[in-house]
């Protein structure tokens, strides 16, 4: 045999061996056992728990789930560009719309009826996002620190308007807590969470009210200077600034230091959200409350801004049919299996969107949020901001909190920003 023939034969063998396994997978259509799917996790803190859960899931179903964690901004884009996306991807709210053309339509799933349609992400009448976790944004408080000074039990409902809140802050200052508020300076925190309240806590706090407001901003029809709800928020931000522990140099604040300040009770309040679960490391006497501002209809006097922030989406463009089926089974298992329910709420301290789940979260902050969600005391969370919202509006807010800009200038710049996104 000539050399050429041997080479051809060898090449043939290699090609054959590469094709063969793919063929065998295709053959097992009914049984998903042995199927391998991938999962992109963007909540790094739960990666270890996910892997444990994956092992339990494999034991029951034979489906293997590989968990990857990566929080880089354009990681999913890279994977799609390479033609090998994850089967299940944990996405932030705006991402789902960006990738819509690649995603599986989940509208026919069983969990849709148990909270999936309410909290899931619907585009063009179809559900593309499985609501993995509900988060809330508001004012985190350390009740221990407050009670130590006032000597009374802290009940946030007594301080849900600006006057009462300011009175409490003054009392805390008198009692020796020099600056009772820690205000972040990170653009995402200022733009999406602090200023983001402006898009949510409006009128009755419904989705319609919020969308109508943003729509008005885009059309340039909103008169922010004379808008009661908007000014209520700005008045509150002014109070945050006045009592800010970073007041001397507001832009030098760091997220981790603010976390530390609240945890240790150096400050009593930290405008942030339910993801800051480690504030209960030293005491369980912490919680989250709505922003104490004087909105027109007092919607935030008892309702917290909350919504699903992390969505699970299934790839429909590059994954095989078996992989897609396995992914759907996995989502179902998360909602309906005992393990899945306990995993979400107890192991990861997440607040679940599914009404069939009766577990109670243990982490203090999560429990505080869950009590709002369970009672239906929520304000719609507007999350569909344009992708440059954090950098542009964040920069405006940074100028405002450092005193380089007054309210009129802020209003004109914010209005201009939205008008450019018509």
């Amino acid at each position: 045999m000539s050399k050429k023939a041997i080479a051809l034969l060898m090449a043939g063998c290699m090609v054959g061996s590469m094709v063969a396994p793919a063929g065998t997978v295709m053959a097992q259509e009914s049984d998903l056992s042995g199927t391998k799917i991938t999962f992109l996790n963007t909540k790094t803190e739960i990666q270890d728990y996910l892997e444990d859960m994956g092992a339990a899931f494999k034991e029951e179903t034979g489906i293997e789930v590989e968990f990857y964690t990566n929080t880089e901004e354009n990681h999913i884009t890279e994977k799609y560009a390479a033609g090998e996306p994850y089967t299940i991807m944990m996405m932030d709210y705006p991402d789902v719309a960006d990738y819509q053309e690649y995603l599986y339509d989940l509208s026919g799933e069983k969990w849709i009826g148990d909270g999936g349609s309410q909290y899931g992400l619907t585009l063009d009448g179809k559900v593309y996002g499985f609501p993995f976790v509900i988060e809330a944004m508001g004012l985190i408080y350390n009740a221990d620190a407050i009670e130590k000074i006032t000597g009374e039990t802290f009940n946030w409902e007594d301080y849900s308007n600006l006057e009462a809140f300011k009175g409490l802050l003054d009392k805390l200052v008198e009692g020796g807590m020099e600056s009772p508020v820690a205000l972040n300076q990170d653009d995402w925190s200022l733009a999406s969470h602090v200023f983001g309240q402006a898009y949510c806590a409006r009128e009755d706090g419904s989705e319609e009210a919020s969308l109508a407001f943003v729509d008005g901003l885009k059309k340039g029809e909103e008169d922010l200077a004379n808008d009661e709800d908007f000014n209520a928020l700005m008045d509150l931000i002014d109070v945050y600034m006045e009592y800010n522990i970073n007041k001397d140099d507001p832009l030098s604040a760091t997220y981790d230091m603010n976390d530390e300040y609240l945890k240790e009770g150096t400050v009593a309040f930290w405008p942030n959200g339910s993801w800051a679960t480690d504030v209960s490391e030293l005491t369980d006497n912490v919680g989250i409350m709505p922003y104490p501002m004087d909105t027109k209809d007092e919607v935030n006097a008892h309702n917290l801004v909350s919504g699903a922030t992390k969505m699970l989406a299934v790839d429909a463009a590059y994954s095989s049919e078996d992989e897609q089926k396995a992914a759907l089974e996995f989502l179902n298992w998360l909602v309906y299996s005992d393990y899945g329910q306990k995993f979400m709420v107890n192991t990861c301290s997440l607040i679940t969107a599914f009404s069939n789940n009766t577990q109670e979260p243990e982490a203090a902050l999560s429990a505080s949020v869950a009590s709002f969600v369970k009672n239906g005391s929520s304000v719609y969370w507007y999350q569909a901001m344009p992708s440059d919202h954090n950098t542009v509006v964040g920069a405006i807010l940074q100028k405002y909190i450092s005193g380089d800009m007054d309210r009129d200038e802020l209003i004109s710049e914010v209005s201009d920003y939205w008008k450019n996104h018509e």
């Binding site: 884009t77 832009l251 030098s252 440059d388 920069a395």
Partner: protein, 297 residues
């Protein structure tokens, strides 16, 4: 018909060339040329970086890029940053190199320590300095009552820029120093000796022998610092993240945000190409003018 001798040598030469240069040529084409050409193609599309659809839009992106005031502002900022940083880095590096080739005690130790910052990656370095500027210096400033240190440099627009330059200089000086050391060591001893015999003092030796012999080192160092400073991203990202309020967003970061955060890949890519052109122009001009001064021993 047999192949003529001439063309046979030609084939043989091509074969030899491929054996030696082939592998690196392959990787050069795959990692530099193909992406460059594909990148240029993308500038004529309205791709958002995600979708399967790419529509050809002609020169629209270029028109938009030329009208994008914020892009030109960030480019101007980058040019200022590069100008100052390149001068400082090379000035300091050259003098450090002279210092550690003079035969001072522990000079090898000094060489190693000046070079060390370059071994720390840009991102880590940025976080370290963020801590220094934000906490350490402020603590010093407050306890010793030094006005300009009692506030974080990173929260002032001008000082944040200064901080970026300072860290860049600190990072690159050691690296450029190594190249200058090599240059200094290569100045032929016989020339210096001949100069001394002819009555040159140390200053004249430096002016008429050392500096002209060092031109090639200057070309390399200035080229490296210009291109690196123009493309600075890691340090910009980890030290200031463009803050305070977007005043330190340099060209690379602006382009990245345009393409990936704002999901406007076509325009971002166009601005990246413009950045490339400006950077290439500046560094080539630099090489052209300094090359003229080069001498042979």
């Amino acid at each position: 018909m047999s192949i003529s001798k001439k063309s046979r040598t030609k084939i043989k030469n091509t074969g030899t060339f491929l054996v030696f240069a082939g592998p690196s040529l392959f990787f050069f084409v795959m990692t530099i040329l193909v992406p460059l050409v594909y990148g240029v193609y993308l500038t004529f599309t309205d791709w958002n970086g995600i979708s399967r659809e790419k529509n050809i839009v002609g020169l629209e992106n270029y028109i938009k890029a030329f009208g994008d005031v914020k892009f030109w502002q960030s480019l101007l900022l980058t040019i200022i940053f590069t100008g100052i940083a390149v001068l400082l880095v090379n000035y300091i590096a050259f003098h450090l190199a002279r210092l550690v080739t003079k035969g001072v005690r522990f000079q090898n130790f000094y060489r190693a320590s000046f070079f060390t910052p370059n071994l720390i990656g840009g991102v880590v370095l940025g976080y370290i300095w963020q801590f220094i500027f934000g906490r350490v210096l402020v603590a010093f400033g407050k306890s010793l009552d030094i006005g300009f240190l009692s506030k974080s440099w990173l929260s002032d627009t001008k000082l944040a820029m200064a901080a970026l330059i300072l860290v860049t200089v600190w990072q690159y000086s050691g690296y450029m120093m190594l190249i200058y050391i090599a240059g200094l060591m290569n100045v032929p001893k016989e020339l210096l000796e001949a100069g001394k015999i002819d009555g040159c003092d140390e200053k004249a030796c430096r002016k008429y022998i050392v500096m002209p012999m060092m031109i090639s080192s200057f070309i390399i160092c200035i080229f490296l610092t210009i291109t690196r400073c123009f493309m600075t991203y890691d340090l910009n990202f980890s030290l200031t993240e463009g803050n305070p309020f977007g005043s330190t967003v340099m060209a690379s970061m602006y382009v990245y945000r345009k393409a990936f955060s704002e999901k406007n890949y076509g325009l971002g890519q166009t601005e990246a190409i413009l950045l490339f052109v400006v950077c290439a122009f500046v560094s080539l001009m630099q090489i052209y003018f300094t090359k003229k001064k080069e001498v042979q021993a």
